[in-house]
């Protein structure tokens, strides 16, 4: 029997693979808050965020083999799943609304609001610094895509930039951000486990 509190995330997932309820509960205790907060930020709906959070952890329960500890941390794995599911939901919702109401305003303004809300929550100062150290033209596409759930094409329209430019800037921005974080000694999320 492993001591769950001391167990690495990877060992917890192995225990989850053996249908060990307490191991999943420990995964949830460690990462459920971040999963829930990210989906709520993207979806701006407590109910939808709860649904996504449940889905993410039930997926881990049913398919623990999808997590590969060689590839990255459990936290980043869960958050990537959370982001993907949240974005799927927001896009399905958006297309439904578009179908229902062709006059729905679909402008850049809602996206720009997000930029100012990104740091509403408590975020590690170094992460904040690393992001704000990016030039605006690299930072803005990342924020709009990641927190706004927009595709790079939508971001390009919003910013009035060519699609190829935005695509490249997102990649360059993430690479720069990685360097900025490393310079500040920031470890990947959950890496201490």
């Amino acid at each position: 029997m492993i001591d769950l509190e001391l167990a690495s995330d990877a060992n917890l997932v192995v225990a989850v693979g053996r249908w060990h309820h307490p191991a999943l509960a420990e995964c949830y205790r460690r990462h459920g808050g971040a999963v829930h907060a990210l989906s709520r930020r993207i979806l701006r709906s407590e109910q939808a965020a709860e649904e996504i959070t449940q889905e993410v952890f039930l997926d881990l329960w049913q398919h623990p083999e999808k997590f590969d500890a060689q590839r990255g941390t459990l936290r980043s794995f869960l958050l990537a799943r959370t982001h993907g599911k949240s974005v799927d939901l927001i896009r399905a919702e958006t297309s439904r609304r578009r179908r229902e109401d062709r006059t729905t305003r679909e402008t850049a303004t809602s996206g720009y609001d997000i930029e100012h809300q990104v740091w509403d929550m408590t975020v590690a100062e170094q992460v904040h610094e690393a992001l704000t150290a990016l030039p605006d033209d690299l930072r803005r596409p990342i924020e709009l895509a990641y927190f706004g759930g927009r595709t790079y094409r939508e971001v390009a329209t919003m910013l009035g930039e060519p699609e190829g430019t935005v695509k490249s800037r997102i990649r360059a921005g993430l690479s720069r951000l990685k360097v900025n974080l490393a310079e500040r000694g920031v470890e990947p999320a959950g890496a201490e486990r």
Binding site: R18, L24, G33
Partner: protein, 291 residues
């Protein structure tokens, strides 16, 4: 995904990696990137590193909501789980004693949950949390330390009971599989349906013991026509090696497997009776081995 679209160049794929990591690409682009990532270690590592970065951006959650955990815990035994739950239910329909509405505070329970019984709520720990999380045992009078093993044991016994009426030989295999499952060194590998599988709910569980004998339990594999057989493959050093034929309608089987061999993944294909040396068919189910 969209076969009509021209293949993108490697450079085009690489340009998409950042947007892909942010889920900011269109579905056909995502499919193209995913195809590329299956064979490109460098690009996979790049995407993984972006996920670590975005994980930091998102890393601002507070405590995990306790009430939400209760909702998750309530759904862990839903039949959607491709686990022994389903297998046992198929062969031996309920009893599945999952009581509801028994959620005392449980604050005085020891962390090891030694008193956990039917529907008992097991507190994991209160030391480092403001809230408190609970885990529900699955209707088995068991120490929490052995909940998983005992649950498996009970379910496999259901299986054993049913199968023994059909075949003494199969019963022996099932009993041996149960014994293997109770060994903590045993490894379990879940094979799930591939997109080409005729039954998307098909699952096969491999129980890899520490001896040379391993076990397989299939659920939802459609019976094959006469003259066909399922065949089990292991991916070893990027080669697909046959591990044996399973017959046209496998349920529970033992197979010989050297536990010292490093297998990266398992797959099952449908082949002509007798099996083949090299398969040209897409797997019906497949699963990677977690290290």
């Amino acid at each position: 995904m969209n076969e009509a679209l021209p293949e993108r160049s490697e450079h085009e794929i690489e340009e998409l990696l950042g947007a892909y990591a942010l889920d900011a690409v269109d579905p056909d682009e995502a499919a193209a990137v995913e195809r590329h990532l299956r064979t490109c270690v460098r690009c996979s590592a790049e995407v993984a590193s972006y996920h670590e970065v975005t994980g930091l951006l998102a890393n601002s959650g507070g405590d995990a909501p306790t009430a939400l955990w209760d909702k998750i815990a309530d759904r862990l035994d839903e039949p959607a789980a491709p686990s022994w739950d389903l297998l046992a239910a198929r062969l031996d329909p309920p009893p599945r004693s999952r009581p509801s509405g028994t959620e005392p505070d449980g604050a005085s329970e020891p962390r090891d949950g030694s008193a956990a019984g039917d529907g008992t709520v097991i507190p994991l720990d209160g030391r480092r949390r403001r809230g408190r999380l609970f885990v529900r045992a699955m209707g088995v009078v068991a120490a929490a330390a052995a909940v998983a093993a005992l649950v498996l044991g009970v379910q496999v016994r259901h299986l054993d009971h049913q199968v023994s009426a059909l075949s003494a030989g199969r019963s022996t295999v099932t009993a041996a599989m149960q014994t293997a499952l109770e060994n903590p060194a045993t490894q379990r590998v879940l094979l799930t349906a591939t997109p080409t599988s005729p039954d998307r709910t098909a699952t096969v569980t491999l129980v890899l013991g520490t001896s040379d004998t391993s076990y397989l339990a299939a659920q939802g594999l459609p019976p094959l026509a006469p003259g066909e057989t399922y065949q089990l493959w292991g991916v070893i050093n990027n080669q697909r090696i046959s591990l044996g034929v399973l017959g046209a309608a496998p349920t529970v089987r033992a197979f010989s497997f050297d536990s010292g061999v490093k297998v990266a993944a398992f797959a099952i294909t449908a082949e002509q009776a007798g099996g083949v040396v090299q398969s040209t068919h897409a797997p019906v189910v497949e699963g990677v081995v977690r290290t």
